[in-house]
């Protein structure tokens, strides 16, 4: 009960702490807000094409029966770890792309309530890590590093351990 309330209180209390801090530091609060909100709007516009591409692909994948087939194919492996079969596509997509996993999360929520076990587990899987391959390509690209095999293996193992943990506590 208390733990669930921490989540509910975190957002409003964060806002209040930030605003009190801002009043003390005497900046122009409203100008800052508008500036930031504009950046947020630009961010939304910049992810729109990716979201359209990926949600459409997921919808096509789902309606053609390909999703069902993939789940059937991978279910033996993931059922060993006791993951519900609805979460398999999300687990595959999460390390590859943030927008892609959002698209899959959306399709999971269409058939499972966000408050159900599957809904909660999927939310945790999608929110608890960043797209591994995206981070590696951004940062290792910036230092022109080609040999990334080990960090990829470490990251994928850590990801698997963390989602196993999520399944147990969920």
């Amino acid at each position: 009960m208390i733990i669930e309330n921490i989540g509910t209180f975190s957002a409003p209390s964060l806002i209040i702490i930030i605003l009190i801090f801002a009043i003390k530091s005497r900046i122009n609060i409203f100008d800052s807000f508008i500036k930031g909100a504009k950046e947020g709007l630009e961010c939304m516009i910049s992810i729109l094409p990716a979201i359209i591409a990926l949600i459409t692909a997921v919808t096509i994948f789902k309606s053609s029966g390909a999703l069902e087939f993939t789940i059937k194919l991978l279910n033996p492996i993931f059922s060993l770890l006791k993951f519900p079969k609805e979460c398999i596509p999300l687990i595959i997509m999460k390390p590859i792309s943030g927008s892609g996993s959002n698209a899959i999360l959306n399709s999971i929520f269409e058939s499972n309530s966000p408050d159900s076990y599957i809904g909660k587990l999927s939310s945790i899987i999608s929110g608890s890590s960043e797209a591994i391959f995206y981070i590696i390509s951004t940062y290792c690209g910036s230092i022109k590093l080609k040999n990334t095999k080990n960090i990829i293996i470490f990251a994928l193992i850590s990801f698997l351990v963390s989602i196993l943990f999520a399944r147990i506590i969920c």
Partner: protein, 205 residues
């Protein structure tokens, strides 16, 4: 990578539809998908734009800086090699706090600066191999502990969740497990390498 996955999904869907005799559904699916994408953006954008504004206030008022300072001792333990090099720790702090607060615009530039410093300090394996601390830093970026995961919460709300925020503590715990597992893996792997290579910090084969 993503491009191939994306194209692969659509192409395999076509063949699957052919086998399952659902080819007539494909055209509809395209329209449905684009429709849904716009819907999602519209539903979640209000929350995201609002939080961007709040986080900008946090940035401008020096709140992120203050939090960074609080984290300094923790990061000093995590990166003992840089205990005397405050500028690197500074970049790591800004990157970490920006990630926590969902300020991606601020997180990536400071992160790139930090990893460049780390990699340049590593004389022996410069450019060819990833440095140990840089590896831990990457894991830190991947495990993204977010105080306010706006998109996720907004999406949960839009699908009728009564308690959209409820999952947050469990989500943070999962992120921390990700981070710890990664650090442990890197540390164990390195110990063996160090013995072989006479205490030279090399991470990779």
């Amino acid at each position: 990578m993503l491009g191939k996955v994306w194209a692969g999904m659509i192409i395999s869907s076509f063949f699957c539809a052919l086998i399952n005799n659902k080819i007539n559904l494909l055209g509809n699916a395209i329209l449905e998908g684009t429709d849904q994408a716009i819907n999602i953006i519209l539903i979640t954008s209000g929350a995201i734009i609002f939080w961007s504004g709040i986080m900008k206030i946090a940035q401008d008022s020096g709140f992120t800086r203050a939090i960074s300072k609080l984290l300094f001792p923790v990061l000093r333990i995590l990166f003992p090699d840089y205990a005397q090099k405050n500028n690197i720790l500074d970049f790591i702090c800004i990157n970490f706090v920006s990630n926590i607060m969902g300020l991606n615009n601020a997180a990536t530039p400071s992160g790139i600066k930090a990893i460049k410093f780390m990699q340049n300090m590593n004389e022996i394996s410069k450019k060819k191999l990833l440095e140990k601390n840089a590896a831990i830093f990457l894991i830190m970026n991947m495990s993204c502990i977010q105080i306010a995961p706006t998109f996720l919460v907004a999406l949960r709300k839009s699908f009728g969740s009564n308690t959209p925020y409820e999952i947050l503590p469990k989500m943070w715990a999962t992120s921390i497990i990700f981070l710890l597992t990664g650090i442990i893996l890197i540390k164990i792997f390195l110990k063996n390498k160090n013995k072989q290579k006479n205490n030279i910090i090399i991470y990779d084969n």
